[in-house]
């Protein structure tokens, strides 16, 4: 039997007598070795411990599975073992947590409230039928927010996985032409739908057609297509501002005028260039004239 052994060290000058006693008591000895003069060591099977006690031998150490098994079954370890085994059996019988896997925080929060209300802490574990019912309820309740739903129970935890509902709103198609709202030179074309009738670096005037809803196919037939997009162009502006000469100190005049002009610039444009055209005194007034090159979307729907 190789399940477990006790290791024993004895001190005797009459080993033969000891062996005789061992034989009389039907004890088995394994690996008898002489450690020192009159000191011997050997192993005995754990199941013969009662003989060891009878012979008043001292166990130095023990090895093997049986040894650990006996350790576990001893007091007070037996209580911990029973508690551990009981927890393994009892814990999966109750629900003590939920795990929701989804990206919509609002839905997650509502799901948690819903679960806490319907399945309180330490509720008995759900049957397949109850899980199916829960699935149907959640699917109905969150039909607008959830597309795919999966509910399963793993031990004492209910797992809920879902994917967000795809936005199925109908898009209204637009068949208007897009025209230029200002003069400019085309620098960027960002058109999703429609027939683009201008090229990059092309100069366009206000009212020129940029995106058309008509396109001619290879069969020479004209088709009507929806239009959508943005066309960016370099546009040119001049701003002129004047103040009374005596109003400010000499050093602040230019900065003040520049600041005033800049504050009047449109906000939805990107400034490409800024240039001072003139800075003069005309009729006792300081006059600043600036030129700007903007990059802006010039495409607007034709009405």
């Amino acid at each position: 039997m190789k399940l477990g052994y006790d290791y024993i060290v004895i001190e005797t000058n009459q080993l033969v007598s000891f062996l005789k006693e061992v034989k009389t008591n039907h004890l088995s000895i394994i690996n008898l070795k002489q450690i020192d003069q009159d000191i011997y060591s050997f192993y005995t099977p754990i199941y013969q411990r009662y003989i060891i006690k009878k012979l008043n031998l001292k166990i130095t150490k023990s090895i093997g599975i049986l040894h650990y098994l006996l350790l576990v079954l001893r007091l007070p370890h037996i209580f911990f073992t029973i508690a551990f085994v009981a927890s393994l059996i009892i814990y999966p019988c109750f629900i003590y947590n939920y795990k929701i896997a989804g990206t919509n925080t609002k839905v997650n929060k509502e799901l948690k409230i819903y679960l806490e209300k319907n399945i309180p802490y330490l509720h008995t574990s759900l049957t397949y039928e109850e899980l199916n019912q829960l699935y149907d309820h959640i699917k109905d309740k969150f039909s607008k927010e959830i597309d795919y739903l999966n509910i399963y129970q793993n031990g004492g935890i209910i797992h809920i996985e879902y994917t967000n509902a795809v936005n199925n709103k109908k898009q209204t198609l637009d068949y208007n032409d897009y025209v230029a709202k200002k003069d400019g030179i085309i620098c960027k074309v960002d058109v999703k739908k429609g027939n683009v009738v201008v090229r990059l670096n092309q100069y366009v005037k206000k009212g020129d057609l940029l995106i058309s809803h008509l396109i001619e196919g290879t069969d020479q037939k004209t088709k009507i297509i929806p239009t959508s997009g943005e066309i960016y162009a370099y546009t040119y502006y001049r701003y002129k501002l004047s103040i009374d000469k005596n109003n400010l100190s000499k050093e602040d005049n230019f900065e003040y005028l520049l600041f005033q002009i800049r504050s009047k610039l449109p906000k939805n444009v990107k400034i490409d260039k800024e240039k001072v055209i003139s800075y003069d005194i005309i009729d006792k007034k300081l006059v600043l004239e600036m030129q700007y090159v903007f990059i802006e979307n010039i495409a607007v729907k034709e009405k």
Partner: protein, 77 residues
């Protein structure tokens, strides 16, 4: 299956299995001498003396003894 390196002597109710460095004695009665170079035990009506080097008991049971070592001589008296 027959082990080629194993031989045995059967005399009366006793049995002796001999391998290269192992000797198994069945149905022994008492150990008389246990030294590093000599082992003696009584059998039913005989005494068996085993001489050699580094003799040690690998297994000591109620009815059998397994010896390990470098054996040089076995005497039955």
């Amino acid at each position: 299956m027959k082990k080629l390196s194993l031989s045995y002597i059967r005399k009366g109710g006793n049995m002796l299995y001999i391998q290269k460095n192992k000797i198994l004695i069945k149905h022994y009665q008492n150990v008389m001498t246990l030294k590093e170079n000599l082992f003696e035990c009584t059998l039913d009506k005989q005494i068996i003396s085993i001489s050699g080097n580094h003799i040690e008991i690998r297994y000591y049971g109620t009815d059998e003894i397994l010896l390990y070592g470098q054996f040089t001589q076995i005497k039955m008296t």
